[in-house]
Subunit: 335 residues, 2 copies
């Protein structure tokens, strides 16, 4: 039952001829760059080491600042952005924060000191309305191109690429309304954060339009599993039969909080997450969620950053990307 | 239902008095470093920006090279190591690879060019018996301290810290034996990799000792969901009622492969993963798995690296860490 990997396996994986694989492995110059990269990728996927002759000069470092890695949406963004940067010939440097560890500002200083060509910020301080925005301004003054992902505060001057949080919350509420729910709650992140504010606005719009007599049921908490469990307790006291959450991890916490209260999801309580990532369809029950269009956002952000690095003047506007409602097993008709 | 965060919230989160929080925020020097870090961590957890006066000089960069981020065990290792490095005053730089992107060698060159104080390799080429080991030797000759995590090849001279893969496979087989299974399969990663070889040895030991008349049922495949699904098809043809997998992602692929064949897990087929990470207990069914002792491994690896950076001569031996069998819902008595 063993398999040995051959030249033709590499060719098949790369979708090219064995002659092409052999040309690439021997470092011949008569191969298109895109083909060369396909063969390198095939070697990597199959777990093979690249011949030393295939090393190439990098076009420069690009910093990628993400808040943490425990929420699986951040590794997903990081992996996607790194792939795009690397296929453009840049070397991505991933800076992730841990509580009490290196802060965003310290990473930015370090990146600038090391002559980084540009920086991508994912869910950074740019989305904090209470945050200090001068750091982004200083970067621009020092000529360091930057782009942000997810929720620019109104004062930030930088090209932003973000999931439409308002639409996301509206979609989630509309789905619960269509299932007959009337007491719908929102478990949101800290109210200083732009994405949280926008989700709140979308929730308020949708609920007050459809059910003008129902009170708004909102709990502001941390973006964590424990935050979700705690929000569930409060929202259940307010009679909710459906809860919209600001992240999948919070939604899993809400489900655990509901179970601790003796409820069954989705029979007694419908729960909707936000983000989506590869393991989420495999949860019990499979989580209904609003999926961030990660690939489209990263592609637009990286394209803009690379154009900026190439000398183009970017537009300091925020581009909104529409998410998708993914209906799985954690939502059901109201009883 | 709103919550405003106050000085006393920070104090409570940090487990210190409000007076201490205030001393730290005002940059007073009469605070122990460990207390200062607790307050910083509390600010970070609560999502607050640190005052600029709290920035500090880094003791230097430490590179952290991981193969990828889609398997959730790698973000878990990365987060743990970063936390330990940062609390020791170092700035971690995370280098992750993507197919066709920047390779391990390219990252190492870049890190050395930028004067990195040391490098931690997680599941890198050091575990590939077909890999080129001179890169590690060259690093040592250039005076760059390094440590490796998970499966040093016999030729590698570096302090290694690794889960005991042989014990892991033995534990998994023993659990299936105790449930009455006799036709037990192994879905393993590429045979060139040291952890895969060791798991194979543990599986062979356990099966041939307990069931000398049963054939070994082994499929070598990629460390992916699709690899697992494909291994399931082959192992089911060989009549397996229990399958031991080399990663949780492979195990989830095995479950999907079994479902595609019309089987129910665990009623018709028991499946055991390997790794464990925060979302794994929430899969359907909750995955029985062998948990890597991530925290203990990272603590030993970082302590050794920091001692090396401090001038101590490290021992080039490999330290094995015993994993834990975590029994959940994907294994059941043989029918």
């Amino acid at each position: 039952m063993h398999e040995r990997i051959t030249l033709s396996d590499i060719a098949e994986q790369a979708g090219v001829s064995t002659a092409t694989v052999s040309r690439v492995l021997n470092g011949k110059s008569n191969v298109a760059e895109v083909t060369r990269r396909q063969v390198l990728a095939a070697l990597d996927v199959l777990g093979y080491e690249r011949p030393e002759t295939l090393h190439r000069a990098s076009k420069g470092l690009v910093g990628l600042v993400v808040p943490e890695l425990s929420n699986p949406i951040f590794p997903l963004y990081a992996q996607e952005i790194e792939q795009l940067l690397a296929s453009g010939g840049h070397t991505p440097l991933l800076c992730t924060q841990t509580p009490g560890g290196t802060s965003e500002d310290e990473y930015v200083e370090m990146l600038v000191d090391r002559g980084v060509a540009g920086i991508v910020f994912v869910s950074g301080r740019h989305s904090d309305t209470g945050g200090d925005v001068t750091r982004y301004q200083r970067l621009r003054e020092r000529g360091v191109p930057l782009v942000t992902i997810n929720g620019n505060a109104p004062t930030i001057k930088a090209p932003g690429f973000t999931t439409d949080d308002r639409a996301a919350a509206r979609m989630a509420v509309d789905h619960l309304l269509s299932l007959g729910h009337r007491r719908i709650g929102l478990a949101m992140g800290p109210g200083r954060m732009v994405p949280a504010q926008r989700k709140r606005a979308g929730y308020e719009d949708a609920v007050s339009t459809a059910l003008p007599d129902e009170p708004l049921r909102i709990v502001e908490t941390l973006y964590t599993y424990e935050g979700g469990a705690s929000a569930a307790r409060q929202l259940l006291e307010h009679g909710c039969t459906g809860i919209v959450c600001s992240s999948d991890i919070m939604a899993l916490g809400v489900i655990s909080g509901a179970r601790a209260a003796g409820l069954v999801v989705p029979d007694d309580l419908s729960v909707i997450g936000y983000d989506d990532s590869p393991l989420i369809p495999m949860t019990d029950p499979p989580l209904t969620t609003v999926r961030q269009p990660v690939e489209a956002i990263c592609r637009a952000a990286v394209t803009t950053l690379l154009a900026s690095i190439g000398g183009e003047q970017p537009d300091d506007t925020e581009m909104l990307f529409t998410p998708d409602l993914i209906v799985r097993g954690s939502t059901a008709p109201a009883q």
